[in-house]
Amino acid sequence: MAKPDFLHMFVDPRRCIGCQACVQACTECDTHKGESMIHLEYVDRGQSVQTVPVVCMHCDQPTCAEVCPADAIKRTDDGIVQSARRPRCIACGNCVVACPFGVPEIYEDRKIMMKCDMCYDRSSVGRKPMCATVCPSQALFFGTREQIEQLRPASEPVNQFQFGNQTITTQVFTMVPREIARRAPWIDVTAAMAEEPQSRAVSLKLLPHPGDPGGAAVAPDAWDPFSDVEV
């Protein structure tokens, strides 16, 4: 059994509403019942309700597998990077440190690394992973390229990432606004790690202030909708 090659995972972090349906449903998947392999993080709850889901990106050349001293991480021919194999994994944590996306986790009580395997019991027979099935905002979508192109005309799927000097190609696609994808069809993984991020992770479409040139939209964080509210 193998994941059909015309079915892909598409993640649009802008659509994440933080409901954790994915996290809860992930714990119901037979491969790793009781534990969630998907993580959900607030970017900065103090500033925004923005959340992002973190799934395994199923890299074509998985860094986790390359640094594993026990050769416990295998990638099947359909491109899915499997979770650590029990007899081999020594829970050393190399993969946790090495993964550019922060995906693998060590379960100390069981002395093993576990990570998302795209619900392999489901995807290997052409069914959707649990997270993408239940996601009520479809921030997580599983289907064909044709379907996602038809459903998301304003976005483009990107699967190239730059992590320092490392160029990464993944099986999982990230949905990026079309005009941004056109400028640079890769995502800089470390951009958000800078002291002063280039742009805020939050998106709040607001009106231009009177006096702003030509009705151009202001940067998302420049207008506080509550600035006139007295305390």
């Binding site: 409901c19 500033q47 459903l151 709040l204």
Partner: protein, 757 residues
């Protein structure tokens, strides 16, 4: 009965809430389910389709149901983990009797004795004080069969006028406004109509947390170019990325709608042809709106003038649109006016009753729609009929086999019922699917009333907080232990299927009601052998009413993945039998026929016209100011549901958001000297509670927000005001005056209670 029968911690220790986790079969990866049962979620009005995995007599997990068209396999965390409410340590498998001698205040009672005791008490109270000395409270998460049966039980068996339901806290403002404006109370369109519309206005609805599946519909509309307007004092997930955010001050929605409509009138952004042909009352509304020039509207509402103008332009010039609202504008002493204001905007645009244009309130509870149609409301009879209307009474009396003169008249709303308990008029109470000690405002008052009752019987599957005061608790059925129908947010009637049998002595709620009727010596009309039989009578009872279910069958519901009412068995025009009416997905289409207008027009009035109603702004009761300068608003979180009786017992959901927090803006927090995570005390004229602060920029700096799903000292309703809308009687949960200070230290409960307790 007077106070609670044992110490709070003793009751909690025995009856919970304790959290369930995945164990045993639910954790096994080598056990296959024996059956997959297609059904729907037991929680909110989205009524997501879901399959329950069953092995033996236990629900061991879930599987998405991707064919059900409304949600296509999508779910929220509550639906995913719902099954953990079954096989639960807190589950009531026996009837309980109040027993102060017992260590936890209750002792088990054999079912038949419990029924006899309840019937005996009801009989005694009614003999001594009259039929109206006993009241009934129902709920909108019950199946339609059960809501129908409960209404019939109150009128035919108990012969009391006093029945009402927890939808009083939910749908009634929108319901009353819909009735006044359209003559019918249902959303106008299937949700699928939304995709392809130009503008969606969401007023007072935290869609992503309270009706999560609707998020994808709104955002798919957006993919195709729709502009999204969100009106909310908080920047919720849907507000975060919307195209126009209206940061309205709590309680000021009618003023905002009037201000917007005034601009539309001034600029000619109206559908004059529609207004003239299909409505009445526009001129009075236009006159009212002229009192709301832009600067005044901006000042009162707290929404910047340019945002009001932009909203008016986008809404005014769109060629298709949807308007949704929910409790944010409805939970007010001005809730009906707020809703009417929204409807005025829709009518002025003329964009209703056609593809890609619609309107609706987003129903909160599983059967909020169906549960407000067939008689468990104080003024209602089946088919959305009126208990004060002689023709309606005559028809239903015929269906029920009683003399119309025996049928009681209208009762009073749920909160007024508590006032009657306080006054000693209502001495006995039977409740199901309602937890008023947590969900009604002014907890201190509600608790006093419970203590005054001579007799109180509760039907439930867990010992809910209100039932701590009960004399007898009857063990009812979980959603998955019964079958029937509910009507979800679009007005679509759907099937609830039974997955497992009731454990122990627990039994289906409809059996309990019928057993009570038999024990009271008045079984006539309460001998149904199944929910299907109840539904067959409901079809007849609803026939000819506005909410006509007479053409609906269980089989049609399954075949069509739901049936939108009205679904006729007879052509309303000619009376000729209609063999297989498909239902009515879209209301108010031009040329459509309804039995009230009889062809005069698409709306449900004799002249077929919708009504504009002057939608007055009035400031909230107990508004912020002086001693209580901050607005308190209350609401929900995605992982909890209503009073938390079920969801606070499900481990993974409690872990997601364990305890209520006070949400406040950093500017307010700085002024008060409060840091994120500090204990803070919020106080209103009614009470004070101490919770941890959550300091976030996503709320108006003059407002705090507290979710209400917790009990006891964590319950937000210690603070809220019981002010009710004069028409709908809905309480004003969404605003009152409040003050906040940093607490000296942790509250006492912090050391002894678990987060969900």
């Amino acid at each position: 009965m007077a106070t609670i029968p044992a110490d709070e911690l003793a009751i909690i220790g025995r009856y919970g809430p304790h959290v369930s986790t995945m164990t045993g079969l639910r954790l096994s990866t080598s056990v296959e389910p024996e059956r997959l049962v297609k059904t729907h979620c037991c929680f909110c009005g989205q009524q997501c389709g879901i399959q329950l995995k069953v092995r033996g007599n236990e629900v061991i997990g879930f599987e998405p149901w991707e064919e059900f068209p409304f949600n296509r396999g999508m779910l929220c965390p509550k639906g995913v983990k719902r099954y953990l409410q079954g096989s639960h340590p807190d589950r009531l498998t026996h009837a309980l009797a109040r027993d102060p001698q017992a260590p936890a205040g209750f002792s088990a009672l054999p079912y038949d004795q419990a029924i006899a005791r309840v019937a005996g008490a009801i009989g005694r109270i009614q003999s001594a004080h009259g039929a109206g000395a006993v009241g009934v409270l129902g709920g909108a998460s019950l199946t339609t069969e059960k809501t129908y049966l409960l209404g019939k039980f109150a009128r035919v068996c108990l012969k009391t006028p006093f029945i009402d339901y927890n939808g009083r806290l939910c749908m009634v403002s929108a319901g009353a406004a819909n009735k006044k404006a359209f003559g019918v109370d249902r959303t106008t369109s299937p949700w699928s109509d939304m995709v392809g519309t130009e503008v969606i206005w969401v007023a007072g609805s935290n869609v992503a947390e309270c009706s999560p599946i609707t998020t994808n519909y709104i955002w798919q509309a957006r993919e195709q170019g729709a502009k999204i307007i969100v009106q909310d004092p908080r920047i919720t997930p849907v507000a975060r990325t919307c195209d126009l955010y209206l940061p309205v001050k709590p309680g000021r929605d009618a003023a905002l709608f009037a201000g917007v409509l005034r601009i539309m009138i001034e600029r000619g952004w109206l559908d004059r042809a529609f207004i003239d042909a299909h409505t009445t009352g526009f001129d009075q509304v236009a006159e009212y709106c002229s009192q709301w020039p832009l600067a005044h509207a901006a000042e009162v509402t707290g929404v910047p003038a340019r945002a009001i103008e932009q909203a008016a332009e986008w809404w005014g010039t769109a060629r298709s649109s949807f308007f949704f609202h929910a409790r944010g504008i409805e939970h007010h002493s001005n809730g009906v006016q707020n809703s009417l204001g929204a409807i005025n905007l829709v009518l002025a645009s003329g964009r209703i009753g056609r593809p890609k244009s619609g309107y609706g309130t987003i129903v909160g509870q599983a059967n909020g729609q169906g549960g407000r149609e067939h008689g468990q409301k104080c003024d209602q009879l089946p088919g959305w009929r009126d208990i004060a209307n002689p023709e309606h009474r005559q028809y239903i009396a015929g269906v029920w086999g009683i003399d119309e003169r025996e049928m009681p008249g209208p009762g009073v709303d749920a909160y007024e019922m508590f006032r009657k308990i306080d006054a000693g008029e209502i001495k006995g109470l039977l409740s199901i699917c309602f937890n008023p000690k947590i969900s009604l405002p002014d907890t201190a008052f509600v608790t006093r009333c419970l203590d005054k009752l001579e007799f109180y019987a509760a039907i439930d599957f867990f010992l809910n907080d209100t039932a701590w005061h009960a004399d007898v608790v009857l063990p009812g059925s979980l959603h998955e232990e019964d079958e029937g129908t509910v009507t979800q947010v679009e007005g679509r009637i759907i099937r609830i299927n039974k997955a497992v049998e009731c454990p122990g002595e627990a039994r289906e709620d409809w059996r309990i009601i019928q057993d009570l009727a038999a024990a009271l010596g008045r079984p006539q009309g309460f001998t149904f052998a199944s929910p299907r039989e109840i539904f067959e009578e409901l079809r007849v009872a609803s026939k000819g009413g506005v909410a006509d279910y007479s053409g609906v069958t269980y089989e049609k519901v399954e075949r069509q993945f739901g049936v939108f009412w009205p679904c006729y068995s007879e052509d309303p025009r000619t009376g000729a039998p209609v063999p297989d009416h498909p239902g009515t997905p879209r209301l108010f289409e031009p040329g459509s026929y309804n039995p009230v207008a009889r062809g005069a027009g698409p709306f449900y009035f004799p002249d077929g016209r919708a009504r504009f109603n002057v939608a007055d702004y009035r400031p909230p009761v107990d508004d912020a100011g002086d001693e209580y300068p901050i607005y308190l608003t209350t609401g929900r979180v995605v992982s909890q549901f209503l009073s938390g009786t079920q969801t606070r017992r499900i481990g993974p959901l409690v872990k997601q958001y364990p305890e209520p927090r006070i949400e406040m803006h950093p500017r307010l927090a700085a002024k008060l000297g409060i840091a994120d995570g500090d204990w803070a005390t919020a106080e209103t004229r009614r009470g004070a509670i101490t919770l941890k602060a959550m300091v976030v920029t996503t709320i108006r700096p003059d407002t705090i927000f507290i979710p209400y799903h917790w009990a006891g000292k964590k319950s937000a309703n210690h603070l809220t005001v019981a002010a009710q809308d004069p028409i709908s009687k809905i309480p004003q949960y969404k605003v009152c005056g409040c003050r906040v200070r940093k607490a000296d230290g942790p509250p006492d409960y912090a050391a002894v209670l678990e987060p969900q307790q």
